[in-house]
Subunit: 431 residues, 2 copies
């Protein structure tokens, strides 16, 4: 290990995260260099607008020519924090082709084109690291990829989107409506002006794909992920969950089915308040991992933000720089198991169904018959309200999504059912 080697770094993008990475690389340079075993030198930063003010970063580092960063033969490591699919994808592939190791926080890109990128890095013998892509500063990639590599993960459930967890927390604690809380989250900067990627679960689906691939040593694309967001969750849904001592969370779930396929999905889920994930409030993230030998583990922390994300990226920078210094490379992305994806229809969970019904004798019997006919077993039924306000809250035992879907369809055709108010999944003791 040569103690005086320099490791040159190029960065693509310099927004909230990139600025923090550059500032911290400068501020803590002596310490980070000691840990890496080589002097870390940020050499170039590619940006769209060179004039945009970025405090505390040497102005001479900036260029609008991203290709010149990729082609700089002195640069060892590329940090990609520009986001988006193209040109990030081409630039990363070109950097790998040029023998550079790459660190990216780009979950959307990894979830869509991860297979190509990892293959390219593997063929070239360089590192492609991405701790920041899932759950911000929470170390989850490395623990799953390395610490748990001697175990068999059976299920991962993550609260991996801070915006939706903030909204659901407020709805739970203050009984407010989705639209109302969303507006507040936007004014506080917790939600984007266009909140679609967050509230419809698109961001969480990318992370679910990455987690599922890692956990089950297979290639999983975002297109494999079944997805429902939280925009249709009502204050009534939250209140009903509360009466059952549950809380609604948007979960990214990756699990092995009994026939060794991968079920991967994002949807709102009722979880018991006693579950460790229930206590994850506001914009915090957490990933709950179940493994055969290890049992139940949880990783908790801030899921986003400039400094936390920069922390994850800089951890990768030091790791990758160490590899450069010792002329080695980290473990390659593992996809040997090549498991199939189970379609959502096969996925088995417990369901909660809220029905507006006519309050007259025989209603419950008629409804129970529909469930029985579709082979969905009922765990509990509760009626709230009377007369025209009567509502039935049915919680099923574990049933497939397919059986559930037929049941809902049959229920909605019944004369005595005024409306199927909502259908929600429940994380039960059996699911």
């Amino acid at each position: 290990m040569s103690a005086h080697k320099n490791i040159y770094i190029g960065m693509l993008g310099c927004g909230v995260v990139g600025s923090q990475v550059a500032a911290l690389l400068e501020k803590n340079n002596a310490e980070l260099s000691t840990r890496a075993g080589a002097k870390l030198i940020l050499k170039k930063i590619a940006v769209r607008d060179i004039k945009a003010a970025r405090e505390g970063i040497n102005q001479s580092l900036f260029t609008t020519d991203a290709q010149s960063v990729i082609d700089d033969s002195e640069i060892d490591i590329i940090i990609e924090v520009m986001g988006g699919i193209d040109p990030a994808r081409e630039l990363i592939l070109a950097a790998i082709k040029n023998g550079k190791s790459v660190i990216t926080a780009n979950k959307a890109l990894l979830a869509l084109h991860g297979a190509d990128l990892f293959t390219a890095a593997d063929n070239k013998g360089v590192d492609l690291y991405y701790e920041a892509a899932v759950a911000g500063a929470i170390p989850i990639i490395r623990p799953m990829r390395e610490s748990l590599v001697g175990d068999q993960i059976t299920r991962v459930m993550g609260i991996v989107n801070g915006t939706t967890n903030y909204i659901l927390t407020k709805m739970d604690e203050e009984g407010r409506a989705f639209a109302d809380v969303l507006k507040e989250a936007q004014s506080l900067g917790y939600a984007e002006a266009d909140p679609t990627a967050d509230v419809e679960g698109i961001d969480a689906a990318s992370k679910a794909a990455i987690i599922a691939g890692l956990a089950f040593h297979s290639r999983v694309s975002v297109d494999d992920v079944y997805r429902e967001g939280i925009s249709s969750i009502t204050a009534d849904d939250v209140a009903v969950a509360k009466t059952m001592n549950h809380v609604i969370k948007l979960l990214a779930i990756a699990e092995l089915t009994s026939d060794d396929r991968i079920s991967v999905r994002v949807h709102p889920t009722l979880i018991p308040r006693s579950h460790p994930l229930a206590a994850v409030r506001n914009a915090f993230n957490a990933v709950f991992v179940e493994a055969k030998s290890a049992g139940q583990l949880m990783f908790y922390g801030p899921g986003a933000g400039g400094a936390p994300t920069a922390s994850a990226i800089l951890g990768d920078v030091v790791a990758v720089a160490r590899h450069r210094v010792s002329d080695s490379v980290g473990p390659r992305e593992s996809d040997y198991a090549d498991r199939a994806i189970a379609p959502i229809g096969d996925t088995k969970t417990q369901f909660l169904i809220r029905l507006n019904v006519a309050d007259k004798p025989g209603v419950l019997a008629a409804i129970a018959q529909v469930f029985a006919k579709e082979g969905v077993s009922i765990q509990t039924v509760r009626q709230s309200g009377r007369g025209n306000d009567a509502e039935l809250i049915v919680v099923s035992h574990g049933a497939t999504e397919e059986a559930l879907s037929s049941t809902v369809s049959a229920l909605s055709k019944m004369d005595i059912v005024t409306k199927v108010e909502s259908v929600l999944r429940v994380l039960g003791s059996q699911s």
Copy 2:
């Protein structure tokens, strides 16, 4: 990377953990070998009594000659799960000298002789891995050593002993006395017949030393750790904590002082029920990490047990085997910062003091005067009971242990103070 290389493993000890490691290495061999990139072969197991029944392990692997395992030139990796200081220390040093990488779960040994062992491994260019030594299956060593290496950790607080957490949980939830719950824990197998190492914080102190060394890139020995156990915690202490909406936990704390020294200690601590550590119940462990950029992270899971500990060891086996295959080595133990240890007297925390006092006018004024004279500022005072049962509960603002000690000494000499019932530390918003 040669795909067909064999990696031979020798094991020292075969108790609860070792049996699981051997069984899982056999059962999941194909999968673990694929992940390691080489066939993993358990070749020899050194035990004291070769005749002890160990189900599912090939009897021909056992030997009572530990030295023959260390000296086997074919063996690449030694797993040490025999425990104790000697001969584990000599055997590990000999294995390293013979060019073998070592995986150990032996926290007591690492906390006492870690410096020598890591130096030996570093000089020889082999791995010395120990994920299982702290908090069982919870990945905490690798996240601190690698994921957070780009950040600056400022404080780590861990619930790292399952036995004491089980006892404190029962005392909190059921209002029972320490001795009573300890007896139950012993009958359930959660506590040893001689519970000293657990209840007096000795086990936790070893883990605190390992955590502090890792977090602050320095060498920290168990002798540097200030230690108090839980055996003097009373049902009344727990009840008082409860009225303040706090819970008492045995915490292993490692923090940087304002003058960049390391404060490392194990003691019972009142923590607010809203703190993520407060929800860690029964025999579960959790490590709460505060870092400058990442913010607050928590790692939660089972802290002990055969299978969880085996999971951590097997993760290290795969990692170390990968290094053997690619002829590389993991990051060396980092101690460049060489920070000094702050004596406990300098440590600043908030305190709760329970005093039996004479219930007469002027008592509070006299007591407040003692605090003022010692420079300890009072946050709250509450009186419970009247007459001969009067008790004052004083919570201080942040004060040094030294000032606190003088205060307690002065209080105990006062005529109006019948008894200083207890002195407990409080994790306040300021501490």
